[in-house]
Subunit: 497 residues, 2 copies
């Protein structure tokens, strides 16, 4: 016992190879003190200094390490203050009891069980899932140029607290851009910048089941086919969704009844692919006016229209009855995390309150970069370039199917980043399964069907092909693989699932 | 009536000066068609083409404008599809009824009543409010260099869907950085990237009153002095907060009772300024272990410590009992919108579920830029530079007070970006008022007191001075103005409010 601190001192100073070099680059006694503190913490953490171990007196460790006595005294005091060590009169300084040791880094690496990987961390061989643009086509140079200009030209106040509505510059640029490109009628003061569509839904409907503190309440009418992720998000917020049947003219908005709002994808029904018919567009606005309802317009890929008729926003028909929501997730990349809500005037205050007074959420620097990207014309150029690329991919898809699977009808190809292949009845599940086996990732149409979709709406077999997802060089092989897993014409057969 | 379309044609083609040049740069009939669509939309929007107006036949307008007849036909069809126009057999094409006109841009500018400006949009002459770093000191060049490297080196998958936990590279860099700088013990898999402290609170406690779907539930013990914004956010989430009295050793954690968790600022109590005493640090961890409680450690300015003893994180004492939350809002800028939660293993899944499966929230590009900024040592360099700058400001504040207001005690100056000036009893409100009149923005201590703070804790008069907020050149004048509004020593007098 009399010798316990001697052993400790030896272990601390010698065996434990305390490294007192300071990676922060500070020199002098401050740097050495900081390094000693780190080294001691590490020794305790790793269990090399066991709980209860008595530490050597200042002067012994100081001599051992070749540092000033005060350096050791300061280090001990700091570690006592942090709770690593305890100091009691007559008992010296000891390692505190009850500190659970953490495994060393080597142990960590060996033992670490990776957390459930994100859905696409290890991608399939051929990724034809819908929902993403070609990640290899991000306009790095042009975006960097915009970011540089934005950062260099930003006034200092940019780096202070921000406006939760988003930077005014961006809201002004969007007002003009959305008017020009999408027929949206608004003012910068009625735009709220957010992180994307899901963030917009959370702001509108709240986040917690039964909370009811959202800006809007259910029941919410939705299209009978749509993104399950959105339905789940709404369900988690306690919002009941009521499916509207779809036909060749889009959602049957004539079925709207006592719902308070309706969520639509008018430019390009997701995922079946058609635009909402002109009469339905007018009718849904009429419904909103007559019933005090609200239309939520999800303009997820409005920029990508390949054939003659670009379809403007329903929002333009009545800006006080439609909330228009868009983002750069399809046009640029979901990694940028920027979206926008174009709101009727009466909702602006509530949405900002839901967003939080001090929370800009979206990176202010990226907001300024996007502003420059839009105003400089780089956004238009990028969208044009991608529109050409995706149109050519669509054409290749259609040609490949015509050649190799002429019995498969391809629909929803006038716009967007995906198409729907209609399959013979009863073949969807087996096709998706066959695709998985062949390393082709795609979704069956059934994935998107609302669980309460009306039984009188025919269930159709099909797969959704995200033709924007692969990189350019991988697309040919993906198409080839896709054609290889489609069911042959002659044997529609029963579902193999 | 017979002539109505002639008048319209004249107005559309001539009087209305339709501008068919296409800002998107497209040429040919597609560009002209798009330009005509925009011009007609604008004419309807502005009210120049009134609802019900009959439009000229294709060929008339085409001749008038010098475009192909099909161009006009396509434009009309598009606008019918969008609901701007209606087409009925025998009645021709007319402007749809019931489109509310929006004011023109000139009208807009003249009439626009600005939305309530954000708190600091027009700053005071001397801004000494706490909470922000010197916005003029953002390291633009170094950040841009990191952003460029990050963008150039990023693999393509960066631009696809992201991991809601945040980029692994950043979580790895933070694991090492926080261990070295803050004594935090963790693994990359237990870090979740978020937008900042408020976002972390929302993820932990939910967002909606009474929802109860947050990861944690109240009641939550908080320090008797703290940020009102956080209390409001918690109240909005339906979380009851219970104030812990403060004394010279920090929060009275011995008063913890049936609360499930306690929110503390152990490194630098906000706003009063002291560190939590070593015994209290140990005691609060003991409490958490004994009662199954949880410590939330708000490490809002842990990097900024000026005197001998850096104080490591309480988290290091027991990583399974402490959630450590930090951000770059004080060290870099709140405009970057990046923060982190270091979680006990058992909370990781729930926090990610609350965050949302597909939502990266924080800009992925900024995450990679921050990774480079940390790993390259630029973050350390910036923090060192700012530490020197703020320490010198603190010294100037202390010197100015010693010279001009020696009766005012300044406390909480060993760390952070703000100090508290103790004032003679009964002078706080009049001092804040006098400061406002003199263009000096600062907060009275009363602002931060929990409304339910125990009456046996003495109310102290004081003001919180954010000495980091002004730019370097503005600081001298701000100090001068501050000293000018402090109450004189000889007349403590009653509160003038």
């Amino acid at each position: 016992m009399a010798n316990s601190w001697v052993n400790s001192a030896e272990r601390i100073g010698a065996d434990l190879h305390l490294d007192l070099s300071d990676p922060s680059g500070a020199s002098g006694s401050g740097g050495r003190r900081a390094a000693l503190i780190r080294a001691l913490r590490e020794a305790v953490r790793s269990g090399r200094l066991a709980p209860g171990t008595r530490l050597p007196p200042y002067r012994s460790l100081a001599a051992d390490l070749g540092v000033a006595r005060n350096t050791v005294a300061d280090a001990y005091a700091e570690l006592v203050a942090e709770g690593w060590l305890t100091a009691r009169q007559g008992s010296g300084t000891r390692v505190a009891m009850g500190l659970p040791p953490t495994p060393s880094r080597q142990q960590r690496s060996a033992e670490r069980v990776p957390r459930k990987a994100p859905a696409r961390a290890r991608g399939p061989r051929h990724d034809l899932r819908q929902g993403t643009p070609d990640a290899s086509a991000f306009p790095r140079a042009a975006w960097l140029a915009s970011y540089r200009r934005a950062l260099q030209q930003a006034p200092n106040e940019v780096f202070g607290p921000g406006d939760p509505a988003g930077r005014l510059e961006l809201r002004e640029a969007l007002t003009d851009y959305l008017a020009r490109a999408r027929g949206v009628r608004t003012e910068p003061d009625r735009i709220v910048i957010c992180s994307g569509f899901a963030h917009a839904l959370r702001l509108l409907f709240g986040q917690d089941r039964g909370g009811g503190s959202g800006v809007l309440r259910g029941p919410l009418a939705v299209e009978a086919y749509g993104l399950g992720f959105h339905r789940e998000l709404l369900a988690a917020a306690g919002v009941r969704t009521v499916p509207l049947p779809l036909d060749d003219d889009g959602a049957r908005v004539d079925r709207l009844a006592r719902e308070r709002a309706v969520l639509l994808t008018p430019a390009h029904q997701f995922p079946t692919g058609g635009p909402l018919h002109a009469e339905r567009r007018a009718a849904v606005v009429d419904w909103a006016r007559a019933r005090g309802g609200l239309v939520l317009e999800d303009d997820y890929d409005g920029e990508f229209r390949y054939d003659r008729k670009p379809v403007g926003a329903v929002q333009g028909l009545d800006p006080e009855r439609v909330i228009f929501i868009g983002s750069v997730s399809k046009s640029l990349s979901p990694a940028v995390r920027l979206g926008w809500m174009v709101l009727p005037e009466r909702y602006v205050g509530d949405v900002l309150a839901a967003k939080g007074e001090r929370e800009a959420w979206a990176s202010v620097l990226d907001q300024l970069s996007l502003t420059d990207f839009i105003v400089s014309g780089a956004y238009d150029r990028h969208v044009r370039r991608m529109r050409q690329r995706y149109r050519s991919r669509r054409d290749r898809l259609v040609a490949a199917l015509a050649a190799q699977a002429p019995h498969v009808e391809v629909t929803g190809v006038a716009a967007g980043l995906h198409a729907v292949l209609r399959l013979p009845p009863g073949t969807e599940r087996s096709t998706v399964k066959a695709a998985t086996w062949q390393g082709v990732a795609l979704d069956g149409l059934a994935e998107f069907r609302h669980p309460a979709a009306e039984p009188d709406m025919p269930v159709r077999d099909g797969v959704v092909v995200g033709y924007a997802t692969p990189s350019e060089h991988a697309y040919g092989a993906a198409l080839e693989a896709l054609c290889g897993v489609l069911p042959p014409a002659e044997e529609p057969g029963p579902d193999g699932g």
